[in-house]
Symmetry: C2
Subunit: 159 residues, 2 copies
């Protein structure tokens, strides 16, 4: 990956924790928004979801999913095609309250989203760890490249 | 739908034309970003996509898809769960250059995205009309409701 593309990717990961997720719905693909933190080893993402949500139930049935992290569109004079975005296909695995990694995930997650504290009192939430399989980074019109899980981790770790 | 939720929905449709789309990939659900305009009758969305893009090829194979339109996350002090967003499950149908509706779609699309003009000189782009099947509107934590295609059209037409 080009260093300038890695820098764009790092900014997306740093500044856009509120991202779209594509899941496998009953009648076709479904999409929702999720708040995304990184796990401690920077190899995977963590989402903390309510089992009342449709996308959570999709992930419980089938772990294949895709995150879409995008620079926001803020001005009508922007050409949206020039905005940076990345699609990251992942495999999701649940981490429930009785899982021995739950406490560590909670700590990681609250470091990113302190406002989520009260949702740890609700019984219907659980974590999913999303492990990247492949990414497609677009840094502007015609500037697209495929990224590997190793490149995703490397870009995140670089500052 | 409550009038206050309809107002939130209308603002999303008006202010966020750069949205995520979930498509059916080869190995699972996929997600990308698309620029969305409305068709003239406000009953369906229009996207103008390159056949070089993965999500375009997914839509050519299978029209089932889902748009995710979200209020942007702009401050680390925001609770993302409080931000408005809507998932709209749609069926996509292609409208190529030889289609008798192409010229009208182009006009509609350029009214929303004047910067896209030069992409009409490129041969690999085509329109898809996305017809809503069902929506799920979330106006904040715990404020979720299901919306019908008729409600989507009504909310968009209201100002």
């Amino acid at each position: 990956m080009k260093p300038e593309d890695c820098a764009v990717f790092h900014r997306l990961l740093l500044e856009q924790p509120w991202v779209a997720i594509a899941t496998q719905g009953e009648e076709g693909p479904y999409g929702a928004m999720v708040a995304v933190a990184w796990d401690h080893d920077k190899q995977s993402f963590l989402v903390y979801l309510s089992t009342l949500s449709l996308h959570t139930r999709h992930l419980q049935r089938r772990g294949a999913c895709c995150l879409v992290i995008a620079q926001p569109y803020l001005s009508v004079t922007d050409d949206p095609q020039e905005l940076a975005r990345v699609s990251i296909e992942c495999e999701a695995a649940p981490i429930g309250r009785d899982h021995d990694e739950f406490a560590r995930c909670r700590q990681q997650y609250l470091a990113r989203f302190p406002v989520a504290e009260s949702r740890f009192d609700l019984g219907d939430f659980l974590f999913f760890r999303l492990t990247p399989r492949r990414g497609r980074l677009i840094c502007g019109f015609g500037r697209a490249s495929t990224v590997t899980p190793a490149e995703i981790a490397a870009c995140w770790s670089e500052s």
